[in-house]
Symmetry: C2
Subunit: 361 residues, 2 copies
């Protein structure tokens, strides 16, 4: 984390995954962070974890970040604007148009409000899942509106930058169109796919592999949260789904007449278009830590080898950002995947090679 | 790995992920394993990795495992049956009905053939991705047919058991019905979803998060392989897709008239049914190593702590099966997730606690 841009106290309302992660990163960066939540237990956990301090009666935050569920976001933003009369307020809800419309109707001083949406998350929610690097290299949508003060926009942009994220200015309604495609449609498609399993024989489902698990992972998401999101963004989601439905109808017709001329081509086309679609997704596919470089070390599959490797990396003086062990009981070697900052990757490879370690790939 | 059931030489044709993983496990178990591949480089890699030895002219395998792509599976099985006149032959192709039909038409001695399908895989293919524990606790479909000798069925079942898998006897055509639901439909749905991204603005796709990445991961699969699979199982796949298409049409109608009575209920119902569907999938959702237990240790986020922990685990005398590090630069603690065999979990927790380590959860 480089020099911090924000000054003063940052107040976070909502000590879940996002709020706690923001608190961790800003505290680490040296800012005074206040964290609050409807649940005192959540707050204590987040504070123990290093995400900030308890509020005091004379707090005067420069920036307030509202990290609560979408259906209460507008009302919490509105009450924060009223309670702290000079603070800049942002939120992190995954829909932006409807929150803004509700705020406009509430009579709140929206000139100090700029909505935002960090494009980051994890399967596990809650304070203990918080990570200071959750937003690192991630897009962070800044959704200014026609009445936003430029100082408010600048403050929210500094917040994103201080968290290592990449601020992207997107109009609130354009944002909702984009997330329909990249977030809301995948959610409902995953749910519809998983629903096919309800009436299946248990013996059939017992054959499930990783592909089914990945495609249906988000089908386990909270329906209450997602009714809010899909209901608030229904037009945009319906448009994308209608196009998908048309493609699906063609594939079904091809499968039902698989020997007809052109049927295999239709199926192959759908698969190839899927390939091309995936290629549009930026970054290493599925990688969470694309800001780190990997070094894979082959170690003998015997006790003490991993401890020895880590001790030597400590001697070399390089900081590991992440580590995962590819352990196969049968293989005569194990693979240790080390994640390091890009500027030390070559040094680490050289030093380990000199010490006799085998580097893969 | 307990006492091995198979005897004699096992011959593996195809040194990809599956073939290499089988070779690693059987070699480890003490069997004589021959591994062959159309690519000499693949074979060398697999042999270096510990998956078996080069073939000799006088090999007389008891069991042959054909691990080649589906479109050549029947012809390779047929030629292996002809070349080794007493060997039991199985294959691992992901469709079973059509392979059997082709073999029946080929005039091969199918009494010595029993198809099978291990329900295991990885995102990365190739010999170097091989893992001896790939099949551990995984279902392994044994698809006997009306002309299979019982000795052949028994041999293939012993193969699955020797690999730690759970053999499940499923008729070849029933198998194809089940995998339509749990594998083939997820593939085409993932492809259709990813295809929506082709014409999207780059700025929209730049907002992609983990949900889109997971749901579209398998859309990157090889179209050539999947045209073979979907074409060979078209009737079963079409039936499931038609039901999904009907649900999709209802959701689209609800989204297009979101304020109408019942629309939110229709959307909520689709989401809730998705929840129920996911719950049908056995085991910890998304877990690959469900035969291990996890111990999460909280360590101070400072150099040398992980090496110290691993050194002490070595002193305690417990073998780690896997390890992953949850490293957050901002948090004042790091989480180390240790995977161990269930029977040593309690011992490890006790010993680490006594030595002053903090265990999470």
């Amino acid at each position: 984390m480089n020099q911090v841009r924000l000054t003063g106290t940052v107040r976070i309302v909502g000590a879940g995954l996002i709020g706690t992660s923001i608190g961790l990163a800003l505290t680490k960066a040296g800012l005074d962070v206040v964290i609050e939540d409807a649940s005192p237990a959540n707050v204590r956990l987040a504070i123990d974890y290093g995400a900030g301090r308890q509020p005091k009666s004379d707090d005067s935050p420069s920036v307030i970040v509202v990290c609560v569920p979408p259906d209460v976001t507008a009302s919490v933003v509105s009450s924060e604007l009223a309670r702290f009369e000079t603070s800049i307020v942002t939120d992190v809800a995954s829909i932006k148009g409807q929150v803004l419309e509700e705020l406009n109707q509430s009579g709140a001083d929206v000139s100090r409000y700029v909505g935002s949406h960090p494009m980051a998350g994890r399967e596990r929610g809650g304070a203990l899942s918080g990570r200071a690097d959750l937003f690192y290299s991630r897009p962070w949508v800044i959704s200014a509106h026609s009445n936003s003060k430029s100082a408010a926009v600048a403050a929210v942009e500094m917040l994103a930058l201080d968290l290592g994220a990449t601020p992207i200015r997107v109009d609130p309604f354009e944002h909702d169109r984009a997330v329909a495609l990249v977030s809301h449609v995948p959610q409902i498609v995953s749910s519809l796919l998983a629903a096919r399993l309800i009436d299946a024989d248990a013996s059939d489902v017992s054959l499930a592999g990783q592909g089914l698990r990945d495609t249906t992972r988000i089908a386990a998401s909270d329906p209450k949260l997602w009714i809010q999101i899909l209901g608030a963004n229904s037009n945009e989601v319906a448009k994308v789904l209608a196009a998908l439905s048309k493609d699906l109808t063609q594939v079904i017709a091809a499968l039902e007449n698989v020997d007809a001329t052109g049927s295999l081509a239709t199926i192959g086309d759908a698969l190839s278009r899927g390939n091309r679609g995936v290629e549009q997704i930026p970054g290493k596919h599925g990688s969470r830590n694309k800001h780190y470089e990997q070094v894979i070390v082959m170690i003998d599959d015997q006790p003490g080898q991993l401890a020895k490797l880590l001790t030597e990396i400590g001697e070399i003086g390089i900081n590991l950002e992440d580590l995962s062990l590819e352990h196969s009981p049968g293989a005569q070697i194990g693979l240790v995947e080390l994640s390091v900052l890009p500027n030390v990757q070559a040094t680490l490879i050289d030093a380990l090679t000199q010490r006799g370690w085998r580097i893969a790939g």
